[in-house]
Amino acid sequence: MEENQINQDFKVVIIGGSAGSLNVLMQILPQLPVIKTFAVVIVLHRKSTDDQTLEELIKLKVRSNVKPIEDKVPFLPGFIYIAPSNYHLLFEKNDVLSLDTSEKINYSRPSIDVSFESAAEVYKNRLTGILLSGSNADGTEGLKSVKNEGGTIIIQDPDSAEMPFMPNHAIQNTTPDYVLNIQQILQFILSIDN
């Protein structure tokens, strides 16, 4: 496969979440101006039917363009991407997205671990992994990979999470760069373009 020139300015933020995280996203995403130098990828545990309610909901609330994910769509800065239900979301070296229907991981497809691990390999220190509320252990292993590859890891402060299990589990098993409440997570994302 041909490798494109690496665009060192292209940064990637992946936000993973489960139960109680949609609310957090709804407090963060509408506050973002049009994003420029980075892409936001949202990987949420969701029902396995192919319904578009999450996409529609987010589209209504954000200023940046939401790109629907299909297999091998170009992955570009300036867009928000939402992992579709019933597929794992993977990242190719030439800045395109791939989907995969392999076994559920942590009872989940999409699995946050899978996307963190795959993106970490490609985007290394240009990747930030953010893990939100949830009652599942998904995300922890993936955050470890992000860290190992030189990326930044942020975990929602369990005190601000509806379901503190997932962030707590990650805090206990990784060395987070930041543990932040919802407002602070927003500030962090806002600072990327500045």
């Binding site: 192919d50 994910i69 297999d71 791939s98």
Partner: protein, 269 residues
């Protein structure tokens, strides 16, 4: 964990020793799958793994079976099946004989689902369903039509969501944790090995399914597969892909008309 360069070495060696070309498979998924079996089978050195693959053809087969993703379901995406049932089959029903092909059928859940639709449309008796895959192990399962009984609750819900009105359990016999689907359905199926990387067209079809297979291919191989389907489709035949797949980047759009917003295209010339 294996390195990128090791993955390329493995791809080259497999091609050299066995003639199978994984060179156009999507790397992100392929690497995950190879790492999975590498760890599952307890390897610590890549060289050790590589020489096992080279020297032991049984192990090579195991590796291929494990790196191809075979996860499937009956009536996966019920709304897709609703469209097949309500819009596509009635159009095909006017033909004296209907030929279908499931490329990458895995263990056959999709094939039995479609056979049920054909039966309910009164078309099964004049249909012939070809079902192919590269993985011969999954084809054996598919031939038997035996699926885990514990899945039947979910499948019967999918079936109902797709517009099915019958008692789903009439289609199988339950026994010791397995559900064996009626031979009336499998009688109309022909299973055989077919490789989308290297094999050619082998018949002409009215409806081709290739769902969740192209996602494992890069753009070039997707193009090859779509062209192979194009050669194998009769004019006014249909090609059905997975919910996140498209023919858009692979073939001239003037030859095909999409059926509403579904991942189903009709060959118009």
């Amino acid at each position: 964990m294996i390195e990128d360069i090791e993955l390329e070495t493995l791809i080259n060696e497999v091609y050299e020793y066995y003639g199978f070309d994984f060179g156009s498979y999507s790397r992100a998924s392929l690497k995950r799958r190879v790492n999975r079996i590498y760890q599952l089978d307890g390897f610590t050195y890549f060289e050790e793994f590589l020489s096992k693959v080279r020297s032991d053809s049984e192990y090579y087969k195991r590796m291929v079976d494990e790196i191809t993703v075979n996860v499937t379901e009956m009536f996966r995406d019920p709304s897709f099946y609703t469209v097949i049932r309500n819009q596509i089959l009635p159009l095909l029903g006017t033909k004296p004989f209907i030929r279908l092909w499931h490329a990458g059928c895995s263990t056959g859940e999709e094939v039995y689902s479609v056979a049920i639709l054909l039966k309910e449309a009164g078309l099964l008796h004049k249909s012939l369903i070809y079902a192919t895959d590269i993985n011969t192990t999954v084809l054996e399962t598919a031939k038997k039509g035996i699926f885990p009984l514990r899945m039947m609750k979910e499948y019967s819900e999918n079936y109902r969501d797709s517009g099915g009105k019958e008692d789903f359990s009439n289609y199988y016999t339950a026994n010791y944790g397995i559900a064996k689907f009626n031979e009336e359905l499998s009688k109309k199926m022909v299973f055989s090995q077919h490789n989308l990387v290297s094999d050619t067209s082998f018949n002409e079809f009215d409806l081709i399914f290739c769902r969740n297979v192209l996602i494992y291919f890069d753009n070039d191989l997707q193009k090859r597969a779509i062209n192979l389907f194009d050669e194998s489709l009769s004019v006014l035949g249909f090609l059905a892909l997975g919910t996140k797949e498209t023919i858009k980047y692979s073939i001239s759009q003037s030859k095909y008309k999409q059926v509403e917003k579904e991942k189903i295209w009709r060959k118009i010339k």
